[in-house]
């Protein structure tokens, strides 16, 4: 698998897109999606909520386990991906595209986000 160069990555295996008009998309990486297995339930932060970098803001549930969703940035949630709520398998089939989770108006980023190459080395895939 390859991690898109234009994204940046957290140690919690979230990705963050480059900001457009101050808004970035957040998702989980393909590595994380593969480790989870089939995602069956996604709980996302609500539009208007404030998420904080490094803190939990939702959850992802798969056949075997549940894992917390961490926000790689601080800011206000401006959109939650309803498609992924309706069809959580998008997280597995298109983690970097249609499986994005929420969009946030960034006020502050996590300090230690990684480049694609750094994340590939960090995650081993």
């Amino acid at each position: 698998m390859s991690n898109p160069k234009e994204l940046r990555y957290s140690k919690e295996h979230e990705w963050l897109s480059a900001a457009a008009d101050g808004v970035s998309a957040v998702g989980i990486t393909e590595h994380a999606a593969n480790a989870l297995g089939d995602v069956v339930y996604v709980e996302l932060p609500e539009v208007g909520a404030t998420v904080t970098a490094g803190e939990t803001c939702g959850e992802l549930e798969s056949t075997k386990s549940v894992s917390e969703l961490y926000s790689p940035v601080t800011g206000e949630v401006v959109e939650a991906n309803q498609d992924v709520v309706d069809d959580p398998s998008l997280v597995n089939s298109a983690p970097f595209e249609g499986g994005w989770l929420f969009k946030v108006r960034v006020s502050e980023e996590q300090q230690d986000l990684m480049s694609a190459d750094e994340y590939t080395e960090f995650s081993g895939s």
């Binding site: 069956v40 056949t63 075997k64």
Partner: protein, 376 residues
Amino acid sequence: MSQSVSPRLTALDALHRSLGATMTDFAGWDMPLRYGSERDEHNAVRTAAGLFDLSHMGEITVTGVQAADLLDHALVGNMGSIKPGRARYTMICRADGGILDDLIVYRLEADTYLVVANASNAQTVLDALTERAAGFDAEVRDDRDAYALLAVQGPHSPAILKAVTDADLDGLKYYAGLPGTVAGAPALIARTGYTGEDGFELFIKPEHAEQVWQALTEAGQEYGLVPAGLSCRDTLRLEAGMPLYGHELSTGLTPFDAGLGRVVKFEKAADFVGRAALEAAAERAEQNPPRKLVGLIAEGRRVPRASMAVVADGEVIGEITSGAPSPTLGKPIAMAYVDAAHAEPGPASSTGVCVDIRGSHEPYEVVALPFYQRQK
């Protein structure tokens, strides 16, 4: 005492890795959890066929002129009444009635039985049988390393297996086993499984595991057979309402507590281990059952997991033993022990039954088990 902590590998370990399996530790064995999507594997077993490596299961052979007497003493079922070539689901209990393990026992010949224990309990069962064999003219043999175990499960499994064996599968009934040849390898062919589907379990020598696996894979291609891991095995057995040791069964429960009192055969002549305690347990279950095993179906989408509390009107009334998203129902399901007063089937709107999922009380419908039964 020093013990190696490296996991045990099945004869098919390299093959699983070449198929890209995600591996997991299960009772000290490195086993395939899934090869791709566990939901696809689950659905393949329900609609076509799946191929499992179950070589972690614990095989114990009991032989001798008093093999039947030993097993009638050691287990709760009537083992002497099994006809050669047939199998039975049974349990081994402690003197206090607590379940040590649930077992499938195959009577291979009049004086030869194959006892199949759960991987996690194989040593316990072996030790208990060995101890209980004292005074009987019978031998208990650890055959864990003598067998690899493959299972082909699903509606197309008879057609697939027929392509690689001359054995009379049409004459092989559910819970029966016969010796035969599969893909050139000698095998005990059993019509058993843990998925709720028709299927077969093949006990073969480890050195034949790869050739049998490959032959089944090839024969299964046109039928949609896929390799299937332990993850889908768990959701398949959960939908079928089949108990799993360590979840629905434990030493703290008797077969009657687990709703499986039918496996205890008081009518047999032998004075078996646990008889007195189980007679008391049977009476208790009849008159004043503490808790009952029920099925729960989610009205929402959050998934219940083992050990979560079941609540009603703010009170804890039970505990989840197994839970997972059900691919067949398209909803989360669970098995749970709940207070007898709350065991009647009904929707959450009338029963008030919820599962405490990380602090949030999610409504659940109470149903009778199983969740899924195949059309015969």
